[in-house]
Symmetry: none
Subunit: 246 residues, 2 copies
Amino acid sequence: MRLEEAAEKLKEGIRSRSLMVLVGLMEVFYEGRASSSLGEGERLLIIKQDGSVLVHRPTGYEPVNWQPPGSMIDVAVRDNELVIEARRLSPEEILRITVKKVYSLETYRLEDSAEFAMYATEEEMKRAILLEPSLIEEGFKPIEDERRAGRAGFVDIFGVDSSGNIVVIEIKRRNATSEDVKQLVSYVREIEGELGRRPRMILVAPGIQKSASKMLAAHGVEFRCLSPRKCHEILRRGRGLDEFLG
Amino acid sequence: MRLEEAAEKLKEGIRSRSLMVLVGLMEVFYEGRASSSLGEGERLLIIKQDGSVLVHRPTGYEPVNWQPPGSMIDVAVRDNELVIEARRLSPEEILRITVKKVYSLETYRLEDSAEFAMYATEEEMKRAILLEPSLIEEGFKPIEDERRAGRAGFVDIFGVDSSGNIVVIEIKRRNATSEDVKQLVSYVREIEGELGRRPRMILVAPGIQKSASKMLAAHGVEFRCLSPRKCHEILRRGRGLDEFLG
DNA sequence: CCTTCCGTTAGGCTC
DNA sequence: GAGCCTAGCGGAAGG
């Protein structure tokens, strides 16, 4: 591909915040917190939709040079070289990639809104509690999961405690917010109508925001600290590694 | 691209130790030192010539999942899904990528034998001081570098000042922390036992955190401001520009 | 904003 | 191989 053509494509991709993958012969210079230089070689250059820039050699896990998200990227053709400069302020850093030959250059607009779940999803946290109900408290017995709470939605776990009280559990894989407290209360309000008495409400999460923790007492909501990581260990213990390796 | 076709191309690329870049719709699971799952989304999958595997989302500097060099990679088509598994032993880890759609898949054999040169590292700061000891103070004379400080580790530079006092220097390329002050003190405590008297302690860094600067006087530690960039310039001056640019 | 701490840290070095 | 330390660490959480 001609360098001028590549330059235009790159400029357009940067303008439209696209992901670009360029394979070619290039040199790389970096100056900022440290400085580095890397002579001619065939490499993979990735420019992401948020302005991240990565230069990868044919081997190794790490990029040899990079610029974090938010850098300003300039593209120009000078002296028969395609020069890509990614600048960043604070700290002031510049990454200059001098491309001599372009073997391929592709542009993509990718959609990726999936949630990255480290250790366990909310669903897996629920399974860990169903497998080991004492995570909530001694004597807790789950009865249903995903019980309908009127028009308000679904309750994660529905059960009884050792004294026969009904218990409604809401699970979050991240720190609980005041919104979560309100949601649990509104679910229980629906159920209360059906049952004629107010169940215990327990919010389960790895932590809770200060503002949310202040609301707990006023709404009669209890909090149990439980992390995705702990749930993962419980599930792993419960079923062994086989599921993954078989 | 059809999944069967992509699978064949991937297998051939792995066999021939090529670099492959796949863009498509995929799910990712990882289990090993930790565990993670990531639902469907459009991503960039890179398989390198040495068996490194990287999964990049459309934004962010870091791969969302990966496998370091040397992993065993299996490819198969099952239930209309292209399943790529990268396994590694010690630690036992598995990365499973389930590709639903392949937008593009390219294979490359890249040649990159250039040497990567990094400047203004801590090592270079030390060399700059050894080359120009007056950076510390007039009359300073380095005696040893990397002197062993008992069980505590190594001291960066060991020398004497114009009055014959022993001087111990600790270098940091980033702002000095209270941890650095403590480390220097603990090194010197070891040396003190050997020498029978307390040397001067000088912490060299481009800056110092407020909390650390408060500790200096109490521990008798001195601070010299010196940036990696300045050291880089001194070395460049010392040996001429040629080595860097030629 | 700054500081502190953690990571599937990775990677390099020594023992 | 295990242990220790550094990094253009990056990133998150807390002040």
